[in-house]
């Protein structure tokens, strides 16, 4: 053996160096082989390019796979995005962000009733027409207690809906009738001025009864377990790996759709992987992190920005016996935490706006933006005033030194940075020690519900385009009021906002709610989230939305003239 005789004669140091060299070469060779083996094996997905003019197709990426696509049970934004492409409800948000008719041709909302006239050429993907009965069935299904829909409460504006959801009435008692197959009459439980706006949510999508029953409880679990009435249909769904949407030949409005195929070749939440796919021309859109911005600028990409409508805030636990139940302690935190500093220096993400109010800036008021009509009072951070409030709080709580607080936070890079900033700021400015409790989303939600926290980093995205989607968050009866804030004064204001028909009175109530939340330091708004992303310049009419599917490619087309 030549090798052995060689090594025997060498000094140990030479031997070590040679070993390193060999190991390095071996690893490099292995990586190269694996790379080629990998690309040879996954031939199907890597063939798809970001934009294919000949096949008239576009590729995108999704963060994770939809758990299932049964619209009556869908809760997450990914399901909402997919359903927005393959299904169509009564109404939808247009490219100009205004409500427009989809399956419904026209509609009318009165304080007691809402009537929708359906277009007769709307068809399912097997060629049968979409009728009023399909909507009634879908809503009854969502309300049945055994379905366990988390968004059933959106339907509570319909007569008897709440009683059906609690099991007190059979589903057939729902206050919705169809005088003929193309007319839908909805009896409202109470006057709801924004009823038509709530209908864009996936829970209101139609489901056809005979198909639903034929799937034996597997409705929406696979591509062939779903009936489509939207611009696209799912032609292929490889769980955990890829999806393909193809143009639905039965869709009534063929003139408005331009693409033949939308590929989802990758499902990953890894931001770096997504950026690399975009660089390799595999996908047509990707989000950018703060670290990637310089590189995106160097590459000369056109960077876009979109405020996704979500507000993030520091929520207090208002349950009795918690230190955060004390107003002065909450006020001290309100004065100590400088959200400008956090957004501009710590998070550093473009498009993020420091939080001043629970109501985000894009919400419309009576005529102008709500925040223009009722500007929120801006809190100026003041460490010495904060200390005074803390002193007072300690007296009221009967404590000799600042309490230790538990901060519940999500387990992702952005919340890690933010929670460590909160921890250090409260330590230096107020001497309050904070323990960070990092949890995954499900566990965090469970802990929020059981009240196992003092502070929590939480966020709320709008369900429909009315300030009430934020305004009723801290009502004593709201299940999403995880800190259990309970104030008859606030409840009375929310009642006005919910039931009055005059927009002026409602908007005034929202202004008062906003002021109440700031005065009582019920919640500390941290920021409004923005998304920074890049899109392939050949793709046009790709729509980012606050409400509805995001991103929306249903009207997108390929334009190579700019090349």
């Amino acid at each position: 053996m030549l090798w052995i005789t060689l090594t025997k004669r060498m000094s140990p140091n030479r031997q070590l160096a040679q070993f390193f060299l060999l190991a390095f070469a071996g690893v490099a060779l292995l990586m190269l082989t694996l790379h080629y083996a990998g690309s040879a094996l996954s031939g199907t997905t890597s063939d798809v390019s970001a934009v294919d003019e000949d096949a008239n197709s576009i590729s995108i990426i999704i963060r994770e796979e939809p758990p299932q696509l049964n619209s009556s049970r869908a809760t997450d934004s990914i399901s909402g995005m997919v359903l927005g492409h393959v299904m169509e409800g009564l109404v939808r948000m247009g490219l100009d962000d205004r409500l427009e008719g989809a399956v419904a041709e026209r509609w009318e909302v009165t304080p007691t009733q809402a009537t929708f006239w359906l277009r007769e050429n709307a068809k399912w993907s097997d060629g049968q027409p979409v009728t009023a009965a399909d909507f009634i069935f879908a809503w009854q299904t969502a309300l049945k207690p055994e379905t366990g829909s988390q968004y059933a409460f959106l339907l509570f504006t319909i007569q008897n809906a709440e009683a059906i959801n609690q099991g007190a009435l059979p589903a057939s008692e729902l206050g919705v009738t169809a005088p003929d197959p193309y007319t839908l009459v909805i009896n409202l439980a109470r006057p709801v001025p924004f009823f038509d706006k709530t209908l864009v949510f996936p829970t209101f999508l139609p489901i056809r009864e005979d198909f639903y029953n034929a799937t034996n409880g597997r409705f929406g679990a696979d591509a062939d377990q779903l009936l489509y009435n939207g611009p696209f249909q799912i032609s292929q769904w490889v769980h955990g790996s890829s999806m393909t949407f193809e143009r639905n030949p039965y869709f009534w409005n063929q003139a408005e759709i331009h693409l033949d195929t939308i590929h989802v070749p990758y499902i990953t939440s890894d931001a770096t992987a997504s950026l690399n796919f975009f660089k390799d021309d595999k996908i047509a859109i990707t989000g950018l992190q703060a670290e990637n911005l310089i590189e995106a600028m160097r590459m000369g990409w056109q960077i876009h920005q979109h405020r996704d409508g979500t507000v993030f805030y520091l929520e207090f636990n208002h349950r009795q016996g918690r230190p955060t139940d004390n107003l002065n302690l909450r006020r001290a935190l309100q004065l100590a935490l400088d959200m400008d500093e956090m957004v501009y220096k710590v998070t550093k993400l473009p498009g993020y706006e420091p939080g001043v109010s629970l109501f985000p800036g894009w919400l419309m008021g009576e005529e102008r933006l709500l925040r223009q009509e009722y500007p929120p009072q801006k809190i100026t951070p003041d460490a010495s005033l904060a200390k005074q409030h803390l002193k007072q709080a300690l007296q009221e709580l009967g404590l000799s030194e600042p309490p230790s607080l538990v901060l519940l936070a999500g387990d992702n890079p952005i919340s890690n940075v933010q929670s460590e900033w909160v921890q250090q700021t409260l330590k230096t400015k107020l001497g309050i020690s904070v323990k960070i409790d990092k949890q995954i989303f499900k566990q965090r939600l469970a802990k929020m519900t059981s009240g196992d926290f003092d502070l929590v980093l939480a966020g709320w995205g709008p369900d429909y385009n009315d300030p009430l989607t934020f305004g009723d968050l801290f009502a004593s009866w709201n299940k999403n009021n995880r800190g259990q804030y309970n104030s008859p004064e606030l409840d009375a204001l929310i009642d006005i906002a919910q039931s009055r028909l005059q927009p002026a009175a409602r908007m005034r109530a929202f202004g008062d709610i906003q002021q109440h939340l700031i005065d009582q330091a019920v919640v500390l708004p941290m920021y409004e989230r923005g998304v920074t992303y890049v899109v392939d310049p050949r793709v046009r009419q790709l729509k980012r939305r606050v409400i509805g599917p995001d991103p929306d490619l249903s009207r997108a087309y390929i334009d190579v003239s700019g090349e």
Binding site: E295, K348, E420
Partner: protein, 457 residues
């Protein structure tokens, strides 16, 4: 036959001079011999020096470099070692009110102007209110002429002014203002403005950070130096050097104490098992096999629960206990094998025949002969324990923030590996050096302590 004259003196008994045999060199004990041979191994000696240096770095370092490892220097976030630290004193930040401080607009087509001198507090831009009602403002760190992209869209505005405060660093920024149509479509006539931003700090902030003393007389515009961070800062502006020192305390504590404890446990268990032999040995070794099969991560979580370690508290103690309870079988097996072998050796039988008690045989013959194996096992377990700590902190089971550890620092640094490599490189380098040093030392110790190589040069 030769004749010889004999005198009576020849019949005197010889005087005993005492020295029959002289040993020219002092007797070498086992340890002295091992030490001699270790000293001849330059790699092992270099490793020993490195380990001594690392121990001094984490134990004496914090006494010399008195910086709080969790203090956040928000003026210097994620800076690399040796970055520029110059800062200019300026008035404290006040929100800008363009109505009260109107700017003289430039004479370009949009009247796009830098309204006030730009600093890292804010860049204040104003433009003409006439023409398009809505504008979009971009910011770029490269000249748009060369890259072809306007850069980062900052804002879409109806008002003819904007105050940019997002993550401003000293340097040149290119701001581009694009007029929009009523539908939000960009039109031609964009104007680009190059803005030089200087780093500033207010007097109150400078006092708070200890850059100037409370009674020091300073003027606005005066140049100061920000706090010095020899190895840069991390993503929250925390001093890397201080974090590496404190982080090393955790890593080396686990790396040294855990192997010491579980190797000791393993030695006792293994020697008892090997010495007893027979059925007792069989039973004890099967129990060791059972312990080997227990999953480490699961026990780590279980201990965390048993210890009542809540969220946000350090998981170092449960980690230590889990390592001691689960990792002893490997050294135990090694020692048992050695003892079984030594038990049958001739010198052990001889010692017994000459009346040596069990304790004497074990203490005089068996343990010293296994010492080489034991020491080598410890040195090889040290890197593996450091790796375990790094791995557990990496997945969030180790130290709780803001306590640093090298593994946790790597976990944080990897997110910004491409833009700020120093945040990952320093802790990774220290882990690598430590592991390599202990490995090479273990290598050298194995050669030096091998009793059969005694006296062999």
């Amino acid at each position: 036959m030769s004749s010889a004259k004999l005198s009576p003196a020849d019949f005197q008994p010889l005087v005993s001079n005492g020295i029959v045999q002289q040993i020219s060199r002092p007797s070498l004990s086992y340890w002295a011999d091992a030490w001699l041979r270790l000293r001849k191994n330059p790699r092992a000696m270099a490793s020993l020096g490195l380990i001594a240096f690392l121990l001094a770095f984490v134990s004496l370092g914090p006494a010399l470099w008195r910086i709080d490892p969790s203090a956040q220097d928000l003026d210097q976030i994620g800076i690399a070692p040796g970055a520029d630290r110059t800062v200019t004193l300026a008035a404290p930040f006040e929100p800008w009110n363009p109505q009260q401080q109107p700017a003289t607009l430039s004479d370009n087509s949009l009247g796009f102007t830098l309204a006030l001198p730009a600093s890292t507090q804010a860049v204040r831009l104003a433009w003409a209110a006439t023409g398009a009602t809505r504008h979009r403002l971009y910011r770029n760190v490269f000249d748009p002429e060369t890259t072809g992209s306007l850069g980062l869209p900052l804002v879409e505005r109806d008002q003819p002014w904007f105050e940019d405060r997002l993550d401003l660093q000293s340097g040149t920024y290119y701001y581009t203002l694009v007029p929009l149509t009523a539908d939000g479509v960009e039109t031609s006539g964009a104007v680009t403005l190059a803005v030089d931003v200087i780093r500033v700090i207010s007097i109150a902030q400078a006092r708070e950070r200890g850059l100037i003393t409370a009674d020091e007389n300073v003027q606005l515009g005066q140049r100061l130096k920000l706090a010095w961070h020899p190895l840069g800062t991390d993503y929250l502006g925390r001093d890397m050097l201080a974090r590496l020192m404190y982080g090393g305390q955790v890593s080396l504590f686990i790396g040294i104490f855990a192997p010491l404890a579980f190797v000791l446990l393993g030695v006792i268990y293994g020697s008892v098992s090997g010495f007893l032999g027979g059925a007792a040995d069989q039973a004890m070794m099967r129990f060791a096999d059972f312990v080997v099969a227990l999953p480490f991560l699961l026990f780590m979580i279980l201990f965390k629960v048993i210890f009542g370690i809540g969220p946000g508290e350090s998981g170092i103690w449960p980690m230590l206990v889990a390592m001691i309870i689960l990792l002893w079988p490997a050294p135990a097996r090694l020692v048992r094998g050695q003892i079984l072998q030594i038990r049958e050796e001739g010198y052990v039988s001889a010692s017994r025949l000459l009346g040596g008690t069990t304790a004497y045989v074990v203490g005089r013959h068996m343990l010293p002969n296994t010492m080489g194996v034991i020491l080598v096992t410890i040195t090889f377990q040290v890197p593996s324990a450091i790796f375990t700590e790094a791995f557990l902190s990496f997945i969030g089971m180790g130290v709780a923030p803001p306590t640093p550890s090298w593994g946790a620092m790597c976990n944080e640094g990897i997110k910004s590996m491409l833009t700020r490599p120093h945040e990952l490189m320093f802790p990774a380098l220290l882990i690598s050096i430590t592991v390599l040093a202990f490995n090479l030392l273990g290598d050298g110790l194995r050669d030096a302590l091998d009793a059969r190589m005694r006296g062999v040069e």
